[in-house]
Subunit: 279 residues, 2 copies
């Protein structure tokens, strides 16, 4: 699998790099970014946290705004930030920001015309890790995190692949997409009207079903504009209580949905993942 | 002086806020951003670091990308980020990024048509601090910092107003604008061809003339694309050597001109300013 370098910049003694590559899973060219800590070498491959961004984002939002590299460099953790959907002129789009490009919802679409490109689940769980592990000084030890739509992605992907990840975290996740406008619109377009398939892409439903879920840390601001209508953390909290799982949902007073919020608590999340990545 | 709130977000226990206001100095409406650390209150006014951004920037680049708030919150320092030029439909512009809007060069233009609005020097040294000190829980104790064009701005403004600031710092400053294309183009347009007026806006010239300059910290990446042609730190280093001043210029191996570089060393700069702000 060939990848092509787009940019690189030194940061906190490590490197931020962007690449483009042909994606078989998505049937288009994709861009991703990786942060490599200073101690990452072939003889010292480091673990990886995959970061899934929210609606409208690319690989750049987290890398430029989260302020994550100080702690990632200190802990010796690589971070990979993929794009949020397939891209390109022949990829189906929607006129609104919450469907189509920038809104892949980290699932495999089964409905035409979306099913031609929208296979973000396969991309994140299979194709991208294979690329990362064959091209960079990283190990196959990984955790997954994300924000909003990407928080939904991190929790659903992590719960469905508990052998592949060590831990899950999320900021302001769409916790119960079956019950909110963003999720209902996306699931209807991508998955059709079969509610059984929706349940396989809903963080709260999956957590309810999970027997022994991975450790999960969630931060949610209580001044988040999307809290009541779209994010619905109460469903996730209720699901966590149905069994004795290691799920912590923290309500953070006064914080909103922005990267200012993420930057405040990202060090906590990296330390949480480090506990599970370095055992 | 009335200011109008545009946004606010909690970050590291403090607040990032954006405002708009009518500027008398610039004869247009301006936007600025302020970070207030959690300990800033009327009974505990905190010192301020003014941050001057580079070409093409607004108040947002530093606030979103520098990762400065963790340390600023810990130290108890407010940060103010103004825009980089006057703005608005009736403000003269240039078709290139290095003159006109986004490129005010932190000086008072004397040449038509620029002199109608381009008085960033007066705005930064007089009008904006008066607004900040009358509207927020801050003291009149301040330092000044900036990047590239804003590094030029911080050093020139700091050296010319040593009673007003405690310390100066810069990332990748345009150190000798009289001798580089960016500076020559801007000075010719804004100041005309009188070289005497150019010398009053050139960091290296001002440092050469200074009797007892404020403490200055400069970081410069040696992988910066603009280093040889535009930034010319050697002139500043030579000027620092002409007298026994507290000027430290650090060449940072492998770093470029981006905010990845700034984010790596911004905590050093805030700690440097704190030493002088809290005496």
């Amino acid at each position: 699998m060939t990848i092509e370098s787009l940019s690189q910049a030194k940061v906190f003694g490590g490197w931020h790099k962007q690449y483009t590559h042909e994606s078989r899973a998505l049937n288009c060219n994709m861009r991703f970014a990786i942060f490599l800590p200073p101690n990452a070498t072939k003889s010292n491959p480091v673990p990886v946290v995959y970061w899934l961004s929210g609606l409208t984002c690319t690989d750049e939002n987290f890398m430029q705004k989260a302020g994550a590299f100080r702690m990632a460099a200190e802990l010796g953790i690589a971070i990979v930030a993929p794009d949020t959907s397939p891209r390109g002129d022949d990829v189906t789009d929607d006129e609104n920001y919450d469907l189509g490009k920038g809104a892949g919802f980290y699932l495999n679409a089964t409905q035409e015309p979306w099913s031609r490109h929208y296979h973000m689940y396969d991309y994140i769980t299979k194709e991208l890790p294979a690329i990362i592990e064959s091209n960079f000084p990283v190990s196959d030890v990984k955790s997954i995190s994300g924000h909003s739509m990407g928080g939904h992605g991190a929790i659903t992907i992590g719960l469905k692949n508990s052998d592949q990840y060590r831990s899950i975290s999320a900021f302001s996740p769409i916790s119960n997409p079956m019950q909110c406008p963003w999720g209902q619109k996306a699931f209807t377009a991508y998955l059709g009207t079969d509610i059984k398939s929706w349940k396989q892409c809903d963080a709260s439903e999956l957590l309810k079903q999970a027997k022994s879920p991975l450790p999960i840390l969630v931060d949610q601001g209580d001044a988040d504009n999307f809290l009541a209508e779209q994010l619905k953390p109460e469903a996730l909290i209720a699901a966590a209580k149905t069994h004795d799982s290691a799920v912590e949902v923290r309500m953070q007073s006064g914080y909103d949905h922005s990267y200012f919020f993420i930057s405040t608590f990202i060090a906590d999340h990296l330390n949480f993942h480090a506990k599970h990545l370095f055992v």
